[in-house]
């Protein structure tokens, strides 16, 4: 009887360890996932179609410095930034910089007209029904996420930037 009692004790304590460990562990991990994105947190994954019709995922660019910019034709500072990003892209793309410009769920003609007008060469992704922007907790436009090669956020810039500001941040990002 002493032996079976010992087994019961161990089984119960192990069950407590597993269930309790899972419950406590999940609260610790949830703390990281929940709440608005901030520096150091991991940006949510997305899978969107670019204007050429190819599907692109954020995880396709793991290990690279990525700039994710949310923009719309209805937002003048976004419009001003787009050609600046184009110049920055030309300057840094050989060093592995990736720019993903996510359009804020506008219609095809609007996006195509805009891209043609500015002759943009970096991937322009199309959000659908504002899903991605909601996942990223966007409050105003433009918002730009600078993502380090290790997949965590270096900086979140809300609002427009001058070209010098963009350049300085990209340089810092590429050094990481």
């Amino acid at each position: 009887m002493g032996k079976s009692r010992k087994t019961v004790q161990i089984v119960i304590l192990i069950a407590v360890l597993i269930i309790g460990g899972y419950a406590i562990g999940s609260t610790l991990f949830a703390a990281d996932d929940k709440g608005p994105l901030k520096e150091g947190s991991k940006p949510p994954e997305f899978e969107l179609v670019d204007i050429e019709g190819n599907t692109q995922q954020l995880s396709d660019y793991e290990g690279k410095a990525v700039v994710v910019n949310f923009w719309g034709t209805f937002c003048p500072p976004c419009v001003k930034e787009m050609p600046e990003f184009e110049r920055q892209y030309a300057k840094w793309k050989d060093q592995g910089l990736v720019i993903l410009a996510i359009n804020l769920s506008e219609d095809t003609l609007t996006v195509n007209n805009f891209v043609r007008r500015f002759d943009l060469n970096y991937p322009i992704l199309r959000d659908v029904n504002r899903q991605t922007e909601r996942n990223y907790g966007l409050k105003s436009y433009p918002t730009t996420f600078f993502i380090k090669p290790d997949g965590s956020i270096m900086e979140i810039k809300v609002g427009g930037m001058t070209e010098v500001e963009i350049d300085e941040r990209i340089e810092r990002l590429l050094q990481l």
């Binding site: 419950a23 406590i24 909601r134």
Partner: protein, 554 residues
């Protein structure tokens, strides 16, 4: 292993460490033989399980959780910390983009800032609160197990002839001298007790009568219920077990419920207000809602669900008119009416093209505000959509632009080819809304071509708009049925333990001297009157109060 303490009773039974009353004859084992105070009858005097004289680490952990004192501390501590969570609203009571790091400090100042920093803004999801719940759960399991098994053993092999000390030190005691045959008397008395629902075990002139033993299992069944309840609550952290989100759906739209395979269509949202004559005097003239209703259809995606390049294939699974407190329910998913917005939204128009010189009409053609076809053929005319704007405006640089992405003031620029027009095509600007047509003077912008053709909508039946948007609260709680099962078990246990009492009567007759002792786990008043009642039936009248042998709660 050496048993240091001598736990052998004079009747020859070997008891385990911690035993208060001999498991066999009931003789008190502690060195207070001179005392004649009522006995401690808890758990029938048996030792708690797993009490050892030289515990190792596992035994020590086990004994920690096996202590009721620790359990009470844990429960009190959990109550106190749970109170902290009620000082300010918790984070999960806020909807939409909400930044707790700013909110608490802005709203409540320094206390708010500290509240957030200590993690009290999500008290019930902190690791230490969940940790306390886990410890309470562990304590429940171990405390119960350590007590119910020895108790079960003790109650299932009770000796009938108990030690005299055991009988005389019960809280209800009766002594009397019997004339005549002892066994006969015992049998007669037993028959009386049987009529009161007792189970009789007789051994010569000794008797044990017992009823409602099952009520002793009530607390343990209650504990099983509580453990189930706790496990169900902890299970909420399993992915997909719990969801609480909000969706906005304009009339006629179909929207995916984030992180699920479900899509919801709002076929029509209706809000109805009380008429003035239906309202009491002091509410007249105010808008009081009578009904909010969303005609909703729930779809499940069957293929190409996550493929952005293709439209998902949907299958209707449920149709329901959602009103307040009557959610759409499907496989644990619940959609509640939450809010609404009655700002109308233009979805599409079906305009015609008129040749102003001949009066000939072509069309109508379908022109949705978003993602319209780029090419339209209308009789001899062709229309190529060149640009569109959701909220048309002239930008600072003098170029047309849009101020938002919602169709507030939509505008379309077509390149039109056809009879009497430039073969290369002429631009034509079209504002579907009359107010914009006037505001931006459509005819002046179009100048020359405005005299030759006109694009216009004939009648309201060619305008397609959403009158309102409905806001639904999406909820899913797979743990809830288990919470209910736990609650039912807990209730059954409570009823068993509260409405029935486990009563036992022991008696023995030694040389014509009757010794009777009785024990119940509660309601001693009832116990005494039951004994007195049975004695009365066989001709011994005794005042129930005189059976009281003292002791607490007697």
């Amino acid at each position: 292993m050496l048993v240091v303490e001598n736990t052998k009773c004079e009747c020859g039974h070997q008891n385990s460490v911690g035993t208060v009353l001999c498991e066999s004859c009931g003789k008190p084992l502690e060195n207070n033989e001179l005392s004649d105070l009522p006995l401690e009858m808890r758990y029938d005097g048996v030792a708690r399980r797993s009490q050892k004289s030289n515990p190792n680490l596992i035994d020590k952990i086990w004994n920690f959780f096996s202590s009721v004192k620790i359990a009470i501390y844990l429960i009190v501590f959990t109550f106190l910390t749970a109170m902290l969570g009620t000082i300010y609203p918790q984070e999960n009571t806020f909807v939409n983009n909400f930044d707790p790091s700013v909110y608490y400090e802005e709203t409540y100042g320094l206390p708010g800032k500290l509240y957030y920093l200590f993690g009290l803004s999500h008290t019930y999801e902190t690791w230490w609160f969940i940790g306390l719940l886990v410890m309470i759960g562990t304590s429940l399991v171990i405390c119960s197990l350590d007590r119910v098994l020895p108790l079960y053993r003790a109650l299932s092999k009770q000796q009938i002839r108990k030690h005299l000390q055991f009988i005389h030190r019960q809280k209800t005691v009766y002594k009397h001298t019997i004339d005549g045959d002892a066994e006969q008397w015992t049998e007669k008395f037993g028959a009386q007790l049987k009529r009161k629902g007792y189970r009789i075990h007789r051994e010569g002139s000794a008797l044990l009568a017992e009823k409602n033993r099952f009520s002793r299992w009530g607390p343990y069944i209650n504990h099983i219920g509580l453990i189930l309840f706790l496990l169900a609550i902890l299970a909420r952290s399993i992915p997909d077990w719990q969801m609480d989100s909000y969706i906005t759906i304009p009339d006629g739209d179909t929207v995916q419920i984030a992180d699920t395979n479900y899509f919801v269509k709002n076929e029509k949202f209706t809000v109805e207000y009380y008429k003035d004559e239906e309202l009491p005097a002091k509410l007249k003239g105010t808008a009081r809602a009578k009904l909010f209703e969303t005609k909703a259809v729930l779809y499940e995606c069957v293929s190409s669900c996550n493929d952005q390049t293709q439209k998902p294939v949907l299958k209707e699974v449920k149709r329901h008119n959602i009103i307040v407190n009557e959610p759409l329910k499907y496989k644990g998913l619940k959609l509640y009416q939450f809010d609404f917005d009655t700002t109308p939204r233009l979805n599409a128009v079906h305009p015609i093209l008129v040749n102003k010189e001949t009066g000939e009409k072509y069309g109508p053609f379908d022109l949705p505000m978003k993602d319209s076809a780029l090419h339209h053929k209308l009789g001899p005319y062709t229309l190529d959509l060149y640009a569109n704007y959701m909220e048309f405006a002239i930008g600072d640089n003098g170029e047309p632009t849009t101020l938002s992405r919602d169709p507030v003031a939509p505008a379309f620029i077509f390149t039109v080819k056809g009879p009497g027009l430039d073969p290369k095509g002429e631009p034509y600007m079209y504002f579907p809304m009359q107010k914009d047509k006037v505001k931006f003077s459509q005819d002046a912008i179009n100048h020359g071509i405005a005299d030759k053709i006109e694009i216009r909508v004939d009648g309201m039946e060619n305008v397609d708009f959403s009158e309102a948007s409905t806001y639904l609260n999406v909820r899913m709680d797979k743990a809830l049925p288990y919470v209910w099962i736990g609650a039912v078990f807990s209730m059954i246990g409570l009823l068993m333990g509260s409405y029935w009492q486990h009563r036992r009567i022991w008696l023995r007759i030694d040389d014509g001297q009757l010794s009777l002792g009785a024990h119940t786990n509660k309601n001693w008043y009832g116990m005494r009157s039951e004994v007195a009642g049975a004695l009365q039936k066989i001709g011994i009248t005794v005042d129930p109060k005189l059976l009281d042998n003292g002791g607490n709660n007697a």
